[in-house]
Amino acid sequence: MATTASHSVLPLIEVKGLNHYYGPPPGGHLVLEDVNLTLNQNEVVGLLGRSGSGKSTLLRSIAGLIHPREGTVERVASEDCPDPSVSMVFQTFALFPWLTVQQNVELGLEAQKVPAPERRARALAAIDLIGLDGFESAYPKELSGGMRQRVGLARALVVNPSLLLMDEPFSALDVLTAETLRTDLLDLWSEGRMPIKSILIVTHNIEEAVQMCDRILVFSSNPGRVVAEIKVDIPRPRDRLDPPFRALVDEIYARMMARPVPSQHAPNGVQPGTGIAMVLPHVSTNTLAGLIEEVDGTPFNGRASMAELADSLQLEVDELFPMAETLQLLRFAELRGAELVLTPAARRYAQAEVDARKGMFGDALLAHVPLAQHIRRVLDERASHRAPARRFRDELEDHMSEDFAEETLSTVTNWGRYAEIFTYHEDDDQFSLDDPQ
């Protein structure tokens, strides 16, 4: 169905000028900015982006679960699809623990008041299709993760949706299970055995996107925007080790790393916001040290492609990107295309002893992280060398949402503690100089 490339393009869903904010109107934190996209019939589209990029929000807007503040989501009626409908598969499966597999699958039909005998027949057919026969009377807690997601899939398919929405459907599963489920789903899709016209899948796994999709929309975060649209023309079934597959994965890595540069303070524009308004992601100093050592070590020798790094460290984009960006922020690394290149400072760091490392990290922190500079300056200026954390939290909240402020402050606290440039006391919520002289 999807493999036959030569057919006319029939739009199914049209999203126009979508803007969405968190928080009460007017104002709030912008999560989606001017999103426009069209989903056509007979295609699998991937929304690729990092967590917090608003891709789940977009998915929920299309599902009708969220009402975007501005813009429209239109379901386009056509001849072979007079009343387009959607149905969703959840990352967390969203199964009712007190209903059996069959009752879970029948839920949507029940809401549509489908008569019991028909309901039963359709549910059994869906259960059969998805490879769950024999488990009809089981409760979700008796099933493995993979089987639960199959129930989620059957439940979504049984109502005959035109568009299947999938919200990171495989990310809660282990690698092997996820692979099996993906393959099974792709088989059903290619053989045209599912009653759906299109699939929209949200993911932060680049390889998953390349393996499954005909078209990938790359999302930037903060606010969420479509920054690139990538067509995947590799014939199915796709092999991960195929050179064109690898090349495309590398290209997407490069695209996701390189982003428009809005400011002069952060030369590569890696962090949204500048100055102290920069959001600092949760990255532990141990992880950073580990990453530096890994790239400094033998196979890479100070220069590693992101895709290979992700592979060898078994990391998701979501985990690897913040690390790479933090290294870049601290001038421990540069990003060249899809490659991470350590700076001479980082290579010295890799060889240094614990105390020397702390010193180098502290210097980098004070030189390149405005918030760390700011906190240190305030502490230095005060006679008591103490300052309430509340104050910095308030300052941050002027620039970002409460959650981001909390995350940023906790990150900078960890870094500052490691570098011994300041410390924090949970009991009275105060920063102080670690060793006041």
Partner: protein, 591 residues
């Protein structure tokens, strides 16, 4: 016939030693009602008979109470117990209905929630005994000259001790529904009714059942107070354990008190085994967990009913109610992205103003009523008495903690012992401590003790168990690795308490102490003024103040007493327990 042989072999294995069953008798076994069927049928039939027998008495003319006054004949006790239990279950039924309607309303409608939630929070912690005075007259006028009116007044009194915490728990469950399930319901466009039956109700059931059990225990405390009702100059005594006990106390009859206490114990065990255990076992399926594990609650009655064909019959009425509700369901409308209609800001403001105006008016009116009839001095007196009662509560909680924390930790760290002690502690918490008050009176009179000091322990008699079983639960939740580390370094004495035991049980202890302190305030109304025959003992305190105002029918004083006590209880919760609880959650939680 290899298949049937294999089958009979399997059946044989399940039943013990293998024996071959002839095919015919096996068929007979399948069609004939099993022994379990007979047993379950007998139990159910007996229960039904008892309900009818008890209900008969509740609709007699009022004069019948004088024809057959309550006697101290122990042979009448089972009948009295029946009447009391029926009252309690009627109240429980009413509480459940109230919960389903009011809590759902509060969770679904923001406007309703704004009023209902604080109201429930306050009602949870105010002395309910004080309300009795106001409600009796109302119900008696509903059915003049019939026992039913008095019965309803008594049921209502028990209801007021059960409903609030059930409703509050249900509300909290509805507010903490798992987001993905809510989205699934929304995505499949489940109607509100269907959503309620599929998601809200099942999800909230385990917590509701647990709170119903706690409520039932709390209700006993009020049974004693609510069955002998005084209206003006006449006292109506409903047949029941409560009035039997009251009479035994008035006649200084030790044997009768003993009979009543024994009967209560039997009744508590009976409804626990026949009613609550099966329900807890059944409700376990609604616990929100995706993984199987942990011990499932067991109940022999539930197992019995499950093995028979009676369970579906029992549930049919509830199913019918569900079907009936679904008949009211609107037509199916698929989920579409609709703009949520924002509340009109002006209308919103008017509503807020109206609410505050109503609250203000109520405060002003009550204040005026109390001031006009009692004066400032009286308010000062009430506040002073409240301080006295508060000192009692604080000291008693401290003393109870000193005793039960070490014991609870010792028990909790020994799983086998904890398993054995936990049900006993729960039984003791369910047991109405006020039946033991007369013994205190005798002791105080005999040794010429000061009532101001020696009546105080009565307040915590019934509520101290909450501290005990929460501490036990906390101690058994201390992770094994932490205990192993403590053992490895040989931590002992105060260091062990300071760094292992106390932080480990802290959040649990706070929960227990909060419940115990609230309960003690309530209990002060019955514990600060106690009698045995014609000997009356009174301690100085707010509880005794409310009690004497109730007896003399001084409504302004009752209102003032309740108001001041509510103020103290709420203040205590907000200023002491909540911050401590938040601290425990933040710093000492083990996850």
């Amino acid at each position: 016939m290899p298949t049937s042989d294999a089958l009979s072999g399997r059946i044989g294995q399940a039943m013990g030693p293998i024996r071959a069953l002839p095919a015919f008798s096996r068929m007979l076994r399948l069609t004939r009602p099993s022994r379990e069927d007979a047993l379950a049928f007998a139990i159910l039939a007996a229960l039904a008979l008892l309900v009818f027998r008890g209900a008969e008495g509740a609709v007699q003319p009022l004069s019948s109470l004088h024809l057959e006054p309550v006697t101290l004949d122990p042979w009448q006790l089972p009948y009295y117990a029946l009447r009391t239990v029926l009252r309690m279950f009627a109240a429980l039924f009413a509480s459940t209905l109230f919960t389903l309607v009011v809590a759902t309303l509060a969770a679904r409608s923001r406007a309703a929630g704004q009023i209902i939630v604080p109201a429930l929070d306050i009602l949870q912690s105010v002395p309910i005994l004080g309300f009795l005075t106001f409600t009796v007259t109302f119900f008696m006028n509903l059915f003049p000259g019939n026992v039913l009116g008095v019965e309803l007044a008594s049921v209502f009194a028990i209801f007021t001790s059960q409903a609030w915490n059930m409703a509050f728990s249900f509300y909290q469950s509805l507010r903490s529904l798992p987001g993905d399930l809510e989205e699934a319901c929304q995505g499949f466009a489940l109607s509100p009714v269907r959503r309620f039956l599929r998601l809200d109700l099942p999800y909230a059931t385990p917590a509701l059942v647990w709170n119903a059990m706690m409520s039932m225990s709390g209700g006993w405390f009020f049974v004693v107070a609510s069955e002998a009702i005084t209206v003006g100059n006449t006292t109506v005594t409903l047949p029941g354990i409560g009035s039997y006990l009251a009479m035994a106390i008035a006649h200084e009859n030790f044997h009768a008190v003993g009979w009543a206490v024994g009967m209560m114990a039997v009744v508590i065990v009976a409804y626990d085994q026949l009613f609550f255990r099966p329900i807890v076992a059944w409700a376990d399926r609604f616990r929100f967990e995706q993984t199987a594990g942990g011990e499932r609650p067991a109940s022999w009655v539930y197992d019995l009913l499950r093995r028979t064909r009676l369970l579906p019959v029992l549930f049919r009425p509830f199913g019918a109610v569900g079907t009936l509700l679904l008949a009211l369901e609107p037509r199916y409308r698929p989920a579409r992205s609709r703009k949520p209609h924002a509340p009109n800001p002006r209308f919103e403001r008017i509503r807020q103003v109206a609410i505050w105006a109503a609250v203000l008016a109520a405060v002003v009116w009550t204040g005026h009523y109390i001031l006009a009839s009692l004066g400032l001095l009286e308010i000062g007196t009430a506040l002073g008495l409240a301080m006295l009662t508060m000192i009692r509560v604080v000291v008693l909680i401290a003393l109870a903690s000193l005793i039960w924390v070490p014991l609870g930790v010792a028990i909790g760290l020994r799983p086998r012992l904890a398993e054995a002690v936990q049900p006993i502690a729960q039984f003791l918490a369910a047991f109405p401590a006020n039946v033991l008050f007369p013994f205190a009176v005798i002791a105080i009179v005999h040794w010429h003790l000061t009532p101001d000091i020696w009546l105080s322990p009565l307040m915590i008699l019934g509520t101290q168990w909450y501290i005990l079983f929460n501490v036990i639960a906390g101690a058994s939740a201390i992770p094994n690795d932490l205990r192993e580390v403590a053992g490895m370094f040989g931590l002992k004495g105060w260091q062990w308490w300071r760094q292992v035991a106390l932080p480990g049980i802290f959040p649990y202890y706070i929960t227990g102490a909060l419940t115990a302190s609230g309960g003690s305030w309530n209990a002060s109304i019955v514990a600060e003024a106690v009698s045995w025959g014609d000997r009356h003992l009174e301690a100085h305190g707010l509880g005794a103040y409310i009690a004497s105002a109730t007896t003399s029918g001084n409504y302004p004083q009752v209102a003032l007493g309740i108001g001041v006590m509510s103020l103290f209880v709420l203040g205590f919760n907000r200023l002491v327990w909540r911050p401590l609880y938040a601290f425990g959650e933040r710093r000492l939680s083990l996850s």
